[in-house]
Subunit: 118 residues, 2 copies
DNA sequence: TGGATATATGAACATGCATTCATATAAGGA
DNA sequence: TCCTTATATGAATGCATGTTCATATATCCA
């Protein structure tokens, strides 16, 4: 692991410098990675799908995704932490709904990508 | 874990049925999750960033992301598997470049999301 | 052919994380 | 107040995965 000089001589030192300078810093790439990680789980994706169709309580989500209430609660906590869902409490019942308008755009692009391969 | 009937009575059985019927099947959500998982790692994100700026050989990538050549190769293999990068061989040197036009759109949306929170 | 360089890859290891189980909290009803 | 129901949460567990080390393959050069 030496300094970032181009070994292949296919790219000028100036260009190399530019690329390095404008690279996202460690913090930024970590944040981005954390964000994408949230979508990297089938259960969470299904939860997000159901919430995109209708506001739902935990029990309903639990039966829709066919997972234990505890598992769903844990996942919802993570989604809340990343501000992808919001809650509304009514007595004992907590209603969850989506809290991010970007989600659908991100999904459609991902689906496009998958559609083009194979 | 019982069948998907609405427990909260906040949503009609017909609507519940519709939501369930149109839900992405297990295979689809798994594929989507796999796709997002690829972006859920800071090292891979940095590799993708550098490749978005310039075609690069493994050694250059290795010094740019400051990781061992082996680690970079492993990650590149994963990116290749998901058809996010493509390769071009010239003698001993293998040049990598991006092979997905959706990547930038996905990134800009993610950055938007992060920008809006805090 | 032998050596050097660029890249790929398998095994090992450590860490992260999704799920489960048990239990806590909170609210409503009897 | 006691019981039931809805949700949250901490600890434990098992599996996935990123990195490293050692080594294999492939290409170029002398």
């Amino acid at each position: 692991m030496d300094t970032a000089t181009c070994l292949c001589k296919s790219i000028s030192p100036e260009e190399m410098e530019m690329i390095t300078l404008h690279a996202p810093n460690e913090e930024t790439s970590l944040h981005l990675a954390e964000f994408f990680k949230v979508f990297g789980d089938a259960t969470r994706l299904r939860i997000i799908y159901f919430l995109s169709r209708h506001e739902l309580c935990v029990a309903d989500l639990s039966s829709l995704v066919q997972m234990q209430q505890s598992a769903v609660s844990h996942q919802l906590k993570l989604l809340r932490l990343h501000r992808l869902v919001k809650t509304r409490k009514e007595g004992k019942i907590v209603y969850y709904s989506l809290d991010d308008k970007h989600i659908n755009s991100i999904f459609s692009i991902a689906v496009e990508h998958l559609g083009e391969n194979e």
